[in-house]
């Protein structure tokens, strides 16, 4: 994602705030969970600014390995992890700062006249839709597929980070043909052979997903045995082996 998506009412307001404040000599703190787009928003305000991790910058200032006064504006991420925040900010007194944090920090409120909190993606449906669409378009382009969002379980437990991962992973999995699956398996087996895995262990890798999907698709063991052309006693044994007695 190259820019902050502002489709929901809340995000539009936030974007408006940062646009007004971008020209003012005030520090801004952006809070929100991991992956909500804090850094992207910071870049909207100061597109040319250098970005530092708060804790690393604190260490660099302490060890005198950075000439901080050369900067007029800075983006500082994860400022909540800085140990001595007041002293840290005192070193940056003449610099315009856009800081990001995962939590609200009360002891440095005075240094940030503008505070913006970005809600999690689950509360920003319109944004989620657009962001997901952008990710799926990009994934389809890379994997040369034509997957739609309806085919994908979107994981937003870590907002944009898990969302992107779930979309790319699902698109990749949907794009594989049998030859590529073989290649993937060979790659896996090649790595695991040295770990004293047995024939049975590798068989498990193939059989568990096969039986799992067959269970969902065919519902009864009779149907499963018929469709897979497998002896019912063998099927029962395998189900018990992989899923225990509660395999029904």
């Amino acid at each position: 994602m190259k820019k902050f998506i502002a489709e929901s009412e809340e995000s539009k307001k936030i974007l408006n705030i940062v646009q007004i404040s971008s020209s003012l000599p005030v520090n801004i703190i952006i809070t929100g969970e991991r992956g909500v787009g804090k850094k992207l928003l910071a870049k909207e305000i100061l597109p040319q600014a250098i970005c530092f991790d708060g804790k690393l910058l604190e260490n660099s200032i302490i060890n005198n390995t950075v000439n901080i006064q050369q900067y007029k504006e800075l983006i500082i991420t994860d400022i909540h992890l800085v140990l001595n925040k007041k002293e840290f900010l005192a070193n940056l007194s003449n610099i315009k700062i856009i800081a990001t944090a995962q939590t609200t920090i009360h002891d440095i409120e005075e240094q940030f006249a503008i505070k913006v909190n970005i809600s999690p993606l689950e509360e920003r449906e319109e944004d989620l839709k657009i962001i997901s669409q952008e990710y799926i378009n990009s994934a389809n382009k890379i994997y040369n597929t034509n997957i739609t969002l309806d085919n994908i379980h979107l994981d937003i437990s870590q907002n944009g980070i898990s969302l992107k991962k779930s979309i790319y992973k699902n698109t990749l999995l949907n794009s594989l043909n049998s030859e590529e699956i073989n290649q993937a398996l060979e790659h896996y087996i090649d790595k695991k052979l040295d770990e004293q895995k047995t024939y049975k262990d590798f068989l498990k890798v193939i059989e568990i997903p096969l039986l799992n999907i067959a269970k969902i698709k065919f519902k009864s063991q009779l149907q499963m045995a018929t469709k897979l052309n497998l002896n019912r006693i063998t099927l029962r044994k395998k189900l018990e082996q992989y899923f225990g007695n509660n395999h029904e």
Partner: protein, 228 residues
């Protein structure tokens, strides 16, 4: 000789007023003129009448008074006829003078700051704001960071209300003296449909941003010098 007494009083650090029977000011000195920025004529007249002696004469009372930053420890009220009454207030002496750190002042449009503070503080609030703005106000020099913190606190104060009115205007005929220079005054009046009461955090933030703050009945008023 009379002229000399008048000049003496004119330069006195303690303000004085002479009212007629209807509460209209007949005479006052420089200090009294500044005091009128923070307190109404009616309030001062009532103060004089309420504390006047029963018969003609002069009476001193030690009562602590505070009008914005100005503190007084006593008053003198006197009248020798039914036509005039005089009020003199005795200032608590302080070495503090009104100064401002001009290094931190930046020229800015006040309405941008109000918009910014409103949007930031009320992002998820349902508060409706009726805006009555004098848009002819010029850009002025403000300590933006401190003023925004003060404004944020004002909006936060009303965050649970349904509706407030915000009036922004330049005060006519009133000035503030900072570093011996006279400045016009801009006021921001937040009015609600309920009583408001003093708020220590808000007062502190106002003081830090060189803003005078007044709490009265259902409103909070911020006043700041227009430094161009």
């Amino acid at each position: 000789m009379n002229n000399f007494y008048e000049k003496l009083l004119e330069h006195d650090l303690n303000p004085y007023f002479i009212f007629n029977a209807n509460g209209k000011i007949l005479k006052f000195n420089k200090e009294a003129e500044f005091l009128l920025n923070y307190v109404s004529i009616k309030e001062l007249f009532n103060l004089a009448v309420d504390n006047a002696s029963q018969d003609f004469g002069f009476s001193q009372k030690f009562i602590p008074l505070k009008f914005n930053k100005h503190e007084y420890y006593a008053i003198l009220v006197g009248y020798t006829s039914d036509d005039e009454i005089a009020l003199r207030l005795y200032k608590v002496v302080s070495n503090q003078t009104n100064t401002i750190n001009s290094d931190k002042l930046k020229l800015v449009n006040i309405f941008s700051l109000i918009e910014l503070s409103k949007n930031t503080t009320l992002l998820n609030s349902n508060l409706k704001i009726k805006e009555v703005y004098d848009i002819s106000l010029p850009e002025m020099k403000i300590n933006i960071n401190e003023f925004l913190l003060c404004l944020n606190e004002c909006f936060k104060y009303f965050i649970e209300d349904d509706e407030i009115t915000l009036k922004v205007k330049m005060k006519v005929g009133e000035y503030e003296v900072i570093d011996n220079q006279k400045y016009k005054i801009m006021s921001l009046l937040f009015s609600a449909n309920r009583m408001v009461k003093g708020d220590h955090t808000l007062e502190e933030k106002a003081n830090r941003s060189n803003v005078n703050i007044f709490f009265s009945q259902n409103s909070i008023k911020l006043e700041l010098p227009i430094i161009l």
